[in-house]
């Protein structure tokens, strides 16, 4: 009797485990679009990147982190390497094939190239201003202007 119990129990465990895994994927698949929308609108500036701001794992993501740091912008960062549903979800949401991706005020702004160009042209300061964020670079440039 004990022997039979031992044979049956593991197979039941195996079954229930498989079920929970499929369920998880199933619900995540449906919730995907809503989730990205929520993430994007959760903060004025949202960054989807590889790695975390303290330790970016891609040169392009790092460049965007450095730009946002220069402007002293507070933002939400999401590591796409940790979650494939975010990685694929955000690409689909913005119809943009690569990471990093920056959203300001819920709107897709661009990837590394665009952020770099906006930073260099001064357009990023204006874009942040529209979202009610004052770039730290404005503070720095004031004393220089007076000189």
């Amino acid at each position: 009797m004990i022997a039979i119990k031992n044979i049956i129990t593991p197979s039941i465990n195996l079954l229930s485990r498989t079920n929970s895994v499929t369920n998880g994927c199933f619900f995540r698949g449906i919730a995907q679009k809503v989730d990205i929308d929520k993430l994007v609108k959760n903060n004025k500036v949202v960054l989807f990147m590889k790695g975390v701001p303290e330790e970016p794992r891609c040169g392009f993501s790092n460049a965007v982190v450095q730009i946002l740091r220069m402007h002293n912008v507070k933002y939400d960062a999401h590591d796409v390497l940790k979650d494939d549903s975010i990685r694929n979800g955000v690409k689909e949401y913005s119809n943009w094939p690569t990471i990093p991706q920056v959203f300001i005020n819920g709107e897709f702004v661009g990837g590394c190239d665009i952020m770099l160009q906006m930073h260099q042209s001064g357009d990023l300061i204006k874009e942040l201003e529209k979202a009610g964020i004052k770039s730290a670079l404005l503070d720095e440039s004031t004393p220089e202007d007076k000189k």
């Binding site: 590889k50 970016p56 794992r57 891609c58 040169g59 119809n95 094939p97 661009g110 590394c112 190239d113």
Partner: protein, 151 residues
């Protein structure tokens, strides 16, 4: 030279005959065969189907006055000869009426197949002829890799 001949004879057993023969005719045959045998592949020797496809598509759709397709894969942790990381510099009149984001979207759209299948990273410089002439025409190289290839 000795080493080259040995390498060739490993690749092509018939070469052993030429190696042992000293007649000028056979020598020249082995020389010409040697020339055609890639002993060590340089970057130019690798086939570039992705780069070629990208060039064809961008030329067709954007009729650029300047087009550069730079394979930056060597900067990343990928096998030699890979076509995974690119920088594209396109200068076209079509960009005249398009804001930056739309220019990039247009290039992404044209290279949709490559981006979905072969290309992992694509950096884009999209300028109008006027902007290109006004710039120093130097394109900054992409940032160094930090190992997060993902999968």
């Amino acid at each position: 030279m000795k080493r080259l001949v040995q390498l060739v004879s490993v690749n092509n057993l018939s070469m052993i005959y030429y190696r042992t023969s000293n007649t000028p005719h056979h020598y020249s045959t082995s020389r010409s065969l040697l020339k055609n045998t890639p002993l060590k592949m340089s970057d130019d020797d690798y086939p570039k189907p992705v780069e070629t496809a990208m060039r064809t598509k961008l030329t067709e759709k954007l009729t650029p006055v300047h087009l550069d397709i730079i394979n930056e894969s060597f900067m990343h942790n990928v096998p030699k000869g890979s076509e995974s990381h690119f920088k594209v510099v396109v200068v076209s009149d079509i960009f005249n009426d398009l804001p930056l984001l739309k220019r990039h979207r247009l290039v992404n759209e044209i290279l949709d197949y490559e981006l979905k299948n072969q290309v992992h990273a694509l950096s884009i410089v999209a300028k109008t002829p006027e902007q290109w002439d006004a710039s120093n025409k130097n394109v900054e190289s992409s940032p160094a890799c930090r190992g997060g290839f993902g999968k």
